[in-house]
Assembly symmetry: D2
Homo-oligomer: 145 residues x 4
């Protein structure tokens, strides 16, 4: 299986460089071939009525974790962008840390496709599950055909 091109520390440094405003919310627990585990520390600004973590917060974590695993595999390509995300919200997560497992199911030249599953830290049943596609910009001079 294809090996990662970056370590967890390298990806974290890169996030701080390109997302200076939000990178501090995320910790990268693990990078493995085609997989990553990312942790998010939620605060009061991430809650919604009823005291549970908001949907946009869960989306943000799924999106970030899939970005992390894609970057880890292909290296520094900042303009890699989400093209599709379908997310199912299943259980309302309590305030506190969230853990997300992202995995790539297909890593092509132009698209990275996979999913991300989110749990409240310590919970056995997932809070949300997302299927994601990222577009990878062609390198200059590269012929995609």
């Amino acid at each position: 299986m294809r090996q990662p091109a970056m370590t967890a520390a390298e990806v974290k440094d890169y996030l701080i460089e390109v997302f200076p405003q939000t990178a501090h919310l995320f910790e990268i627990d693990e990078i493995a071939p085609m997989r990553a585990r990312v942790r998010m520390l939620t605060g009061p600004e991430h809650l919604r009525p009823g005291g549970t973590v908001s949907g946009p917060t869960l989306f943000t974590l799924a999106d970030c974790a899939f970005y992390v695993v894609t970057l880890a595999m292909i290296g520094r390509v900042a303009l890699t962008v989400t093209t599709n995300c379908s997310i199912n919200f299943m259980r309302k997560p309590a305030p506190g840390a969230l853990v997300c497992e992202a995995r790539i199911l297909k890593l092509g030249k132009l698209l990275s496709v996979g999913d991300a599953t989110i749990w409240s830290e310590g919970a056995s049943e997932p809070a949300a599950h997302a299927a994601l596609t990222y577009a990878i910009p062609p390198r200059r001079g590269e012929n995609v055909g």
Copy 2:
């Protein structure tokens, strides 16, 4: 066609009550039967590398606008929650105001299903399109069967 249960001003007051931290980002331009138009004022915190509005910001707007149209139709049910959102990101929106048209395609007792389309203000072509489902909690004593 079923008529809205709340006006734009009533929904806005309600958003301020239940989402005090984020309600100021949104303006409700129009409520019509099964439709709403919501505007979002983006700031530097909503941008990503390249200076375009981030995916989570677009998700937040689509989610909020569909919440607005659902609330407007069914009245004050704060615990109405997103169960599914599938979003396609199509064009990178420039910084500035975003406009979102949300429409309900099915309003059942338990689910509100529809979509939301987002444009940069003044642009003719959409930046993102989302299909959404919200779950409506059963009222006390109501038998859903």
Copy 3:
């Protein structure tokens, strides 16, 4: 707005050529810029328990209608393929003809993105709504970058 490259009759001939086994199920009612209306004639083989049209049948119609509108706009590119479809099933359609309105929201060099809405013929409320993405293969010698 970009104009279609093929007429309804030309697209229908092409469907018969590339999908000889299923093309007879579909009629192309209308082609317009970035839009198409396609009709499907369902038979007993398309029903499920309870006598309603099956989910896979509705998926097939949404997928075909979006293929039709994409082909109509870009011309004969048989290997254009679905990469993502998110479909919401909202009402059970009765046996008989189904009508599908497909529209393209973004027509890029590599992707066609849009949605498709399905009604039972004569019904005012939709049975299903799908968001779809098709990948368009690069032409030989074309540099996508």
Copy 4:
């Protein structure tokens, strides 16, 4: 973990009863708690231009496999219906048998939510991945509140 209510043979008998026209296409390899593996035998009618299995065929298998695992867990509830499916098509499967692993991520009173991954038999990389939601009809006299 909650145990299945039906065996593979019981589910197969039930499919034959409620889907007499299509049940012969599917074999149920395994039922486990919250998981099922279903095999589909494809024929010439399931192919599309280029000789690969069609998207609607892959959708049909994902949908059937998730129905199988949901039925296996909750027992005979024929009117259980798909409400949402988001499917990513990743690789073109060659003609022949397809294998699908379906898993439930949340089994509630009203909804069964999970995913399904499809491979060509013997392939190591998946052809398609779907996230699915099924609605479970309330039993007579049951108060969902």
